[in-house]
Symmetry: C2
DNA sequence: TAACACTGTGTATCATAGATACAGTTTTTT
DNA sequence: AAAAAACTGTATCTATGATACACAGTGTTA
């Protein structure tokens, strides 16, 4: 079992708090090189191919040598996420909160398209590195001049991020349900042959799938935010409008 | 490697198209009992505990006997999803599309709370069983009287479903990022100690976490749908308004 | 009715992946 | 120069999914 979960050690690794060792022989690589090797394997052979053995071989090492760089697979995953996620997006090109969030979504989507395995590995309760942490920080800045609560701003950011993740074209593995994969044509056939029990899905499946899913969701979601924001702005006669929800 | 993926065989299993065998000795159990045993293990010991060995032991069998019921672990996962997802929701109690979708979200959330491992296993390209398929079918019916395109209705349903999944209190493993887990307090500490680099996240983290995340997102999302729907209804002078987007 | 085919079940075995133990070797420090 | 510390490799362990195969029980059929 991979019960090797030490979040504290992971945090020290990701945030550069690990004391550099000086005594013995110099390591053949540094953490960045290890991370890059793992990313390369994931990009070319898929996330399932990323094993201790495979990554070590990529570096010309045995897997036990790799265990000197990372305490286990969870740490390897963490540093490859931090390496692949890239630098946080630049939102200074646009002005309104809406276009800023759109730009954020676009750049997030682009990052995940560069490394299609990212959505499926950045999942669950975990410690993020400084670069990855920069992403939600930038997204929050987009909503800074907004009458939303701080909590609501975070919720809004998660809403956008989760939507992009959910509609991400599932290369290796995604949360998406209705994309083209090996199972999709079978589901399609099953629905058409059971159109009496699932009339709505059956007719929908008969329509050629569009590529506008991600845009439609993002648009809908931003419309919803805009509704709340304009409503709050309208009631901004009272002082506390920016930090608490408007009364019914 | 678990390269045992035969979607056709899986479809036959889930949709009851497998010819019942008559010759040899009678099986000690049926598929429903196998599925229930697996669900029981997942509910009590977590999804990670669900192994061929463990489920077989739950039934008083060796794991090889279990391979006579299902062709592999993927099939076991499929039937336990179908068993745990429950019957599709009843939306007849409410009238408007909005309250219907709210009720759908509530029931979906409840189902996932009953089996906290469901969100993390119902992921990726896969074949769904008839009971699970009933869920999106019901959700689509909520939008039937709506000027949305069929494709847009499906997108809207996915939007709601994905949101509920993303904000699901991650019991075993979820897509959620900022919930209380073993990593959350560490992230909190890291952010507070690096408040200069992440001022917005740091101040947000200092606020006690609310439980309104799921409601806020759902509300926002439905507001967005309502915006599009009312806009379409207003322009419904021309006939094709119900099946194609309004012109700019 | 008896042989046969088929199927459920169990034992043994394999492959892969994560992980530990430990010896050998290299390099810095004292 | 000697000792301590750290990098690397070989061997081994455990867990899990999966295959091979022998044995046993049951229905079909000659």
């Amino acid at each position: 079992m991979s019960a090797n979960e030490d979040p504290m050690a992971l945090a020290e690794l990701l945030w550069g708090l690990r004391k550099p060792r000086t005594r013995g022989p110099r390591p053949a690589f540094d953490l960045a090189q290890v991370a890059d090797a793992a990313v390369k394997v994931a990009d070319t052979e898929g996330l399932e191919a990323v094993s201790m053995h495979r990554v070590a071989a990529e570096l010309g090492l045995t897997k036990m040598a790799l265990y000197r760089y990372v305490n286990g697979k969870s740490e390897l995953s963490a540093i490859m996420i931090e390496a692949a996620v890239g630098t946080p997006p630049d939102l200074s090109g646009v002005t309104s909160w809406r276009t800023k969030l759109e730009e954020y979504a676009r750049q997030l989507s682009a990052a995940w398209r560069r490394h299609p395995w990212l959505p499926s590995i950045t999942v669950g309760d975990r410690v993020m590195g400084p670069r990855e942490t920069g992403w939600p920080e930038r997204a929050l800045s987009a909503l800074a001049d907004t009458p939303l609560t701080e909590r609501e701003r975070l919720d809004a950011v998660m809403l956008v991020s989760h939507h992009i993740r959910a509609t991400h074209p599932a290369a290796t593995q995604g949360t998406q349900t209705w994309t083209d994969g090996s199972a999709a044509p079978i589901m399609r056939d099953l629905l058409l042959r059971n159109a009496d029990r699932f009339p709505l899905l059956a007719t929908t499946m008969a329509i050629p799938s569009a590529t506008t899913t991600q845009e439609f969701g993002l648009h809908t979601l931003l419309d919803g935010l805009e509704h709340t924001i304009t409503q709050r702005t309208r009631n901004s006669g009272d002082e506390s409008a920016a930090s608490s929800p408007a009364p019914p």
